[in-house]
Each structure stands twice: as C-alpha cells, then as structure tokens.
Subunit: 152 residues, 2 copies
C-alpha cells in the first residue's frame, strides 16, 4: 500500500510530470512528420483537417477551442490550408465577426490519402493497448481539469 503523499511530494511530481509530457509530445509529433510530408501537411495543419473531417464546418473560434489554439496561430494556418485548396474561409452573414471554415471537395478527398497516417505510430509506441487506454484517459482528464479552471 502506497503511503499518503504530502503536498510537497505532489508538487514535486507535478513538476516532474511537466518534462516528459513536453518531450513525449514533441517526439510523437516528430514521428508523424515524415508521413505527413508525403501528403503535404504539417502536424498542425493535419490536426485542423482531422477536426474538420470529424465535425464538419465550424467557426474559427469553435475550431480554436477544440484544438487549443488562438487566432494568432490559427488564422495563418487556415489561410495556408485555403491556399492549398483544402478549406474555404468566409465571414458569416448572421454575424460578420465570425469566419466559417468549410472543407472543399479536395479537402474531403484528402481524408482518404491521410487514412494511413496513423500507421506512423506502428512499431514506435511501445505501450500495450491497456496502457494506451490508461494514458489516453489520464491526459483527457487532465485536459478537462484545465478547461474547467479556465471557464471559472
């Protein structure tokens, strides 16, 4: 049975958590980079497309909330994807402050070409299925906590 941790121990571990999180995210993104280059996308562009493939059209604001990016990052990425011909950006007539992001036909088609991208991780993540599930759940729980704090 593990001893009950004091506050200092929790803090120290929190600090230690930070680094592997940072390093692991970078390394996993790096694994995706090469296969993504083959279909002409960066990781950030890919994530935008994944969200749009899953949820369909939405405002830039909504997209930014889902992807944890503000307009400072997102606007240039979306303009690039528009230049590539994968998305369309247009002000909404109901409220001209909002920009609606829509997939073009080519954007929809790209989904198939990207379908083998997840295989990039094959043989690169040495975790069991159960460990991956646990990791996935803990990360999402942590994210939820951070979101909760934000909306207060």
């Amino acid at each position: 049975m593990a001893k009950s941790p004091n506050k200092l121990e929790v803090l120290k571990l929190g600090n230690q958590l930070c680094f592997p999180l940072y390093a692991c995210a970078k390394e996993v993104i790096k694994i995706y980079r090469k296969p993504l280059a083959k279909i002409g996308l960066t990781y950030t562009q890919y994530i935008v497309m994944v969200i749009l493939w899953e949820f369909g059209e939405m405002s830039e604001k909504e997209l930014g909330e889902k992807i944890y990016l503000d307009s400072g990052t997102l606007t240039p990425v979306l303009k690039k994807l528009e230049k590539f011909g994968f998305v369309k950006r247009q002000r909404m007539t109901e409220d001209e402050r909002f920009v609606k992001i829509t997939l073009t036909d080519n954007g929809v088609k790209l989904r198939e070409k990207a379908s083998n991208i997840p295989q990039a991780l094959e043989g690169n993540i040495y975790l069991s299925y159960d460990e991956m599930i646990t990791l996935y759940n803990l990360l999402n729980k942590a994210l939820e906590g951070i979101n909760e704090r934000k909306t207060q």
Copy 2:
C-alpha cells in the same frame, strides 16, 4: 474483462492519443508561463536550467540529448542564457568540437528563486497523486520506447 484488441484498434487509439498529448503539453506549459516570467525565464530556458541544476556541467550535445532538442534550437537558447549571466559556454580543450555548458554563480543562485515554480500547477492539475504517478510512468515508458527505436 476487456476484449483483446485487434491491430486496427491499436492504430486508431494511437492516433487519438496524439492529440491529447499535444494539447495537454501545450496547456501545461502555458500554466508555467506566468510564474516563469516573474523570474525572467521562458519554459525552454527553465528546462535547460533544471537539467543543469540537477546534473551540473555538460556538453551541449549531452544537454540536447537529455532535453530532446537539437543545436538549431539549443544554441540560441544557451546564448540567451549566457547573455543573462546564468551559464557559461566554452569550447573544450580536449576536443574543440564540444561546447561545455557551466552554471555561473548567478545561475546557481537562481535555483532558489525558482523553487516555488512547481506550485504553478497547484489547483490546475485535477489528478490524484496515484494518477500522476501512473501518467508519469506511462510517459516515460513511451519515451524510452522512442529512444530505443532511435538507437537502432
């Protein structure tokens, strides 16, 4: 009892893991940003200092391996820290290709001022101690796997 997952399920989950990892890392770094600004450091600069505080002087190459950064990122960061007066950079006489990174007195002193930085996470990570331990272990296991693959 969970059913045995097929390969496709593992791949799909791997892909899904990628995003919360990316998002969570960004959000946690964001939490550190404000308290770090008070002692005049960015997150990357802080991680460099943490490594040097823990392990002492080492070459830029060694530092880069520990922190998962190449010279393209690390050289400018180290030059900045040198300008701040926290580290010293000098070519090693034994082998002039290597640059040895050493803490200055001010660099050592900064450690105390930074001692309360981990408290930034207090009230921001809604995970139990055990969950944090599990998350920490899984991330490190994933990192080890990635490293292993690299050295092959």
